[in-house]
């Protein structure tokens, strides 16, 4: 999580403790959900119909500082107690160590709104599942400084990985590395042929090392360029999601209403970043919560979606990703569910602003 963001979001729920992070350009989001069974004792505290779930965020560095040295932790720490004390404004982490020694850390936290990227693995046209090791061995061929990588599906069910080279780069000065993985290296392959997506390698590498260490297979859900790629790890007591924005293919002709709902908005262009206001206006005035073809651009919390949230087993809630204000690399920022109104479920207002910063600016 520290490879993604500087702040660690903590949300204790009935389903477990959720730890999340988002990067500054909001093009990467990760969440780790530790089920109650993961812990020796798990008491999320009473969150009745009137009380909100308590959420907070702490500085990643402060939190990591407590778990500084893994080898020594393994040797000397017996158990760790985590207490969230809202009234004292402290997150207490207590390590019970060898020789009866107790280390208590009282971290200051900030209350925050929910951090939740909007994505739906069901809506992804392609899915791959492989042992983490296979992907780690593939990724090792790319230089550590490489920013983006393109994953593609080729003929014969082969999967390719190649480094992404910007158009402006001089062909004679750039090195392209491409490798192909056969279908049988994967545990399952269900992909749309000829698709390819480009995403940030740095954040993916972080998840990959975790997956390797925990020996879990990694599932990659992806769709068209521009739509987020979702990496998942599943275990009996742990659910991990990493959602990365992908480079949108601006020249692609596949921007039809049925596939990516962008049609409701003014023409996609690089001026987007400059024209946030008109973009927002366009969002507000367009059809909201329509039941028509998938409108991923307006994943407002309508009553319908609120119900489906409770039904779904997985963490994902609404659909799709909204093309947000892209950073200079033309990555779209992921949509983060509107978190303005506390009485969220059931409120579908046209005034809801999308892609709101979770701590409000």
């Amino acid at each position: 999580l520290s490879r993604i963001g500087d702040e660690l979001y903590l949300e204790p729920t009935e389903r477990g403790l959720s730890l999340r992070a988002v990067n500054s350009s909001r093009s990467a989001f990760a969440s780790f959900l530790f089920a109650p069974l993961f812990f020796q004792l798990y008491e999320p505290g009473s969150a009745g119909p009137d009380t909100e779930v308590f959420r907070c965020k702490v500085h990643m560095k402060s939190f990591l500082g407590i778990f500084r040295s893994l080898p020594s932790l393994e040797k000397s720490v017996g158990k760790c107690l985590i207490l969230l004390k809202p009234r004292a404004s402290r997150l207490v982490l207590q390590l019970h160590c060898k020789y009866g020694v107790t280390k208590t850390h009282n971290l200051a936290f900030q209350e925050c709104e929910q951090l939740q990227a909007v994505f739906d693995t069901q809506r992804c046209a392609s899915r791959l599942c492989a042992p983490a090791r296979v992907l780690a061995e593939a990724v090792v061929h790319f230089p550590p400084t490489l920013a983006e990588v393109t994953l593609g599906t080729g003929p014969g069910g082969k999967i390719s990985l190649r480094n992404y080279v910007e158009d402006e780069a001089e062909p004679s000065k750039t090195m392209v590395t491409e490798l192909w993985l056969a279908e049988d290296e994967f545990q399952s392959v269900a992909v749309a042929p000829g698709s390819n997506i480009t995403f940030c390698l740095k954040e993916f590498r972080g998840l990959l090392s975790f997956a390797e260490a925990s020996n879990l297979p990694l599932t990659i859900h992806f769709d068209e360029p521009g739509r987020p790629v979702i990496f998942t790890l599943d275990d009996t007591v742990l659910e991990v999601h990493l959602v990365l924005a992908t480079l949108s293919d601006l020249e692609s002709t596949s921007q039809s209403p049925s596939t990516n709902g962008v049609s409701h908005l003014p023409a996609q262009s690089d001026d987007f970043a400059d024209d946030l206001e008109s973009y927002m206006v366009a969002m507000e005035t367009s059809e909201v919560g329509s039941e028509g073809p998938p409108s991923p651009t307006f994943p407002l919390r309508t009553p319908r979606s609120a119900e489906s949230k409770l039904e779904e087993e997985e963490e994902e809630e609404e659909e799709g990703a909204v093309p947000g204000t892209p950073p200079h690399k033309k990555f779209r920022s992921l949509f983060f569910g509107s978190v303005m109104t506390p009485g969220r479920p059931g409120q579908a207002t046209t005034q809801e602003v999308l892609a709101e910063d979770s701590d409000g600016e």
Partner: protein, 281 residues
């Protein structure tokens, strides 16, 4: 004046002359108190004491008893001089700091007296190096007046339990707060840094606790930057005694066993930081 590569013949009157087969026995101890450039050396018949001070609040002493040396003689009652500890350490480790088994640097140290430089003759593998280090007028040293009768609280811990704690102290905290009490939390080290506060508790019945004599609950704060250098002494030691007196002065005594199994001591004395309130988090 010319000096030969030969050590002086015995019989010459040197205020201080000493021989040590393994210079590491001296250099490792001196490193444990090396937080300032200069040190004051005091040589008496019982041995050598090297003192380093800072900010008029902290004093560290390294004791190397006469028995550690192969030869140790002090002509007058005591000999005292100020010297650059950095230079002294550089000279003692002139053949390198890595310790290959079987090799060691032999040392002969001579001091003619007031105004004369300290002469070091170092030999390893047949190669001899001669060093001449200027000495200065010794400074007046702090007297913490810390004697066993004035001790209020005392504990002796195995260093193993404290090493990691000291190495990982939150340096964004200005102070290190030490609580010693006959009741819970018994012995607690606390820091108050940017991320929040951290407390390290050692129960009185811990296996690490060799002795626990706390009569009164005391909480004192010390400037963490002054105490941090003691981590080096802690790293070398096998046991540490922590004592406080009625005014909150802190005495840390480290028992260090060298490669040959001989025991030496390093101690740190520190004044409490008076600028803060006693409120304990």
């Amino acid at each position: 004046m010319p000096f030969s590569a030969q050590p002086p013949a015995s019989g010459e009157r040197y205020a201080l002359s000493a021989s040590l087969d393994n210079a590491r026995h001296l250099s490792s101890l001196l490193r444990a108190v090396h937080f300032q450039d200069h040190a004051t050396c005091l040589a008496t018949a019982s041995g050598l004491r090297v003192t380093v001070e800072d900010a008029k609040c902290i004093q560290a002493n390294a004791f190397i008893q006469a028995e550690i040396f192969q030869e140790f003689s002090v002509q007058e009652e005591s000999v005292m001089f100020r010297i650059s500890l950095s230079v002294l350490l550089d000279c003692l480790t002139i053949f390198g700091t890595s310790s290959l088994p079987g090799t060691s640097t032999a040392l002969r140290m001579c001091y003619r007296g007031y105004g004369y430089p300290l002469m070091l003759f170092l030999e390893e593998g047949g190669v001899v190096t001669v060093c001449k280090i200027n000495t200065q007028e010794p400074d007046e040293l702090l007297d913490f007046d810390f004697c066993s009768t004035k001790v209020v609280n005392k504990i002796i811990l195995q260093s193993e339990g404290l090493r990691e704690a000291f190495a990982e102290l939150d340096m964004t905290s200005e102070v290190l707060q030490i609580t010693m009490s006959p009741d819970k939390p018994y012995f607690r080290l606390s820091t108050f840094g940017n991320a929040g506060s951290a407390h390290l508790d050692y129960p009185r019945d811990s296996d690490l606790m060799e002795a626990f004599h706390c009569n009164q609950t005391q909480t004192n704060r010390y400037k963490i930057s002054l105490l941090k250098p003691s981590t080096k002494a802690l790293a070398l030691s096998c046991k540490v005694s922590i004592r406080t007196d009625a005014q909150g002065f802190l005495s840390l005594q480290y028992m260090i066993r060298n490669e040959d199994g001989q025991i030496c001591f390093v101690e740190y004395y520190c004044c409490p930081d008076e600028n803060i309130s006693e409120a304990e988090l």
